[in-house]
């Protein structure tokens, strides 16, 4: 038994370790810089992409004119979660931890941008026409698909946020289990331990 580790606590992986793990990762200056650059880039991407639901899919500065408070808030949350997830995964990669949550991250990004890209554009009707749909079929189906997407866009964004939270948690738990998080003098430290047999 490690009785000699007086004053050190072994923090078990749980949802409550998410914040300490992310804090540990961001303690490094390089990782802080990486997270900041990613956040700004991804935020810019979402700010010009999410409002494209009002411009027929056209992204860019024109779409900014249609940026609402809801979309701006979702953009900020999505950018923060995605940048943190990538940063934690990079940290885990450098500590030889197995990456987890990549599929969730990709799914979250798709769930966040697909509605604004698909709704009210020619994509769905073109696909239906390519599949051999008649005018009547397209008229009935295209509207149902795009109308449903338009109606549930906010649901899709919230789903993307949940997926990213889960992805971040998986990445953080991987880092936490590959390293031992110990409390030393009120601070967290990560030490690599050989796998316990």
């Amino acid at each position: 038994m490690n009785a000699g580790r007086a004053g050190h606590d072994r923090i078990r992986t749980s949802a409550s370790t998410l914040v300490p793990t992310v804090a540990l990762v961001l303690r490094g200056q390089r990782y802080r810089g990486l997270a900041l650059v990613l956040f700004l880039g991804i935020l810019g991407f979402y700010l010009v992409t999410l409002p494209s639901t009002y411009t027929g899919g056209a992204v860019g500065f024109l779409a900014l004119r249609y940026l609402t408070g809801d979309l701006a808030a979702c953009s900020a949350v999505l950018a923060a979660l995605l940048s943190l997830t990538i940063t934690v995964n990079v940290y885990g990669f450098r500590t030889s931890a197995r990456q987890r949550g990549a599929v969730l991250s990709v799914g979250a990004v798709l769930a966040s941008v697909v509605p604004s890209s698909v709704c009210c554009t020619s994509l769905v009707p073109s696909v239906l026409a390519a599949l051999g749909g008649s005018t009547v079929q397209i008229f009935g189906l295209a509207g149902r698909i795009q109308g449903g997407i338009a109606r549930f866009q906010m649901v899709s964004l919230v789903t993307a946020i949940v997926l990213l939270l889960l992805s971040l948690y998986l990445a953080a738990s991987t880092v936490a289990t590959s390293c031992t998080l110990t409390r030393k003098g009120g601070r967290l430290d990560a030490t690599k331990e050989p796998a316990q047999v």
Binding site: Y54, A58, F139, G140
Partner: protein
């Protein structure tokens, strides 16, 4: 106590299972696509009420009827002699509603240039429920909705299928005084330059 190992046949079956699952998934996916395609191809094509004319830039705009929100029936040929923007949209479409607001901002300018805007809801609202045309007009166009240069209504099935056989939710046609289609576009809020350029050359 030693655990008995499963019989060889079971071990082989377990080893083959992932590959078998992948193969079955591929076959199921291919069959689904094939069924979808065959169903679409075999479904009876509802004949449009009349031959579907070719609608393209440079071609003559086919004549068709529509009903205004006041309940009167009109034909597109009644508007020959002045430039027309025929806009087909769905009322649940956010882009269309943003485009309506953008058109409202420019309607006076377009009216001075002689353009008449005809904004019609697609047949069946393209299959998804949404607000009425009058509601969209009053909400998104504001006071400009009652401009004499702006006609609101419902497109007939003939007009919808003729001008928008592919079911695009937001499409407009810029038709000159002689009934020739000069441009086809969508999202007026994103393509207002094209509309303004059209009215400038149509004078």
């Amino acid at each position: 106590m030693l655990r008995k190992s499963p019989p060889k046949s079971e071990r082989l079956r377990d080893a083959r299972r992932p590959r078998a699952l992948r193969t079955r998934s591929r076959v199921a996916f291919a069959m689904g696509i094939a069924v979808l395609g065959l169903t679409a191809a075999a479904s009876p094509r509802v004949a449009a009420p009349g031959p579907i004319a070719q609608v393209e830039v440079g071609g003559r705009a086919p004549d068709a009827s529509f009903v205004t929100i006041q309940g009167t029936v009109h034909r597109l040929s009644e508007f020959r002699g002045r430039p027309v923007m025929l806009w087909l949209f769905a009322t649940w479409c956010d882009t269309c509603r943003a485009g309506t607001a953008a058109l409202a901002e420019h309607i006076q300018q377009l009216d001075r240039a002689g353009l008449h805007a005809i904004q019609l809801r697609l047949y069946g609202n393209l299959g998804y429920p949404g607000p009425s045309v009058r509601e969209v007009a009053r909400t998104d166009a504001g006071p400009a909705w009652s401009s004499s240069a702006w006609t609101w209504g419902e497109a007939s099935k003939e007009l919808s299928f003729t001008y928008d056989p592919k079911g695009y939710v937001d499409i407009y046609f810029l038709i000159d005084r002689n009934g020739i289609i000069r441009a086809i576009g969508g999202a007026p809020n994103a393509t207002m330059d094209q509309i303004l350029s059209f009215v400038q050359h149509a004078r």
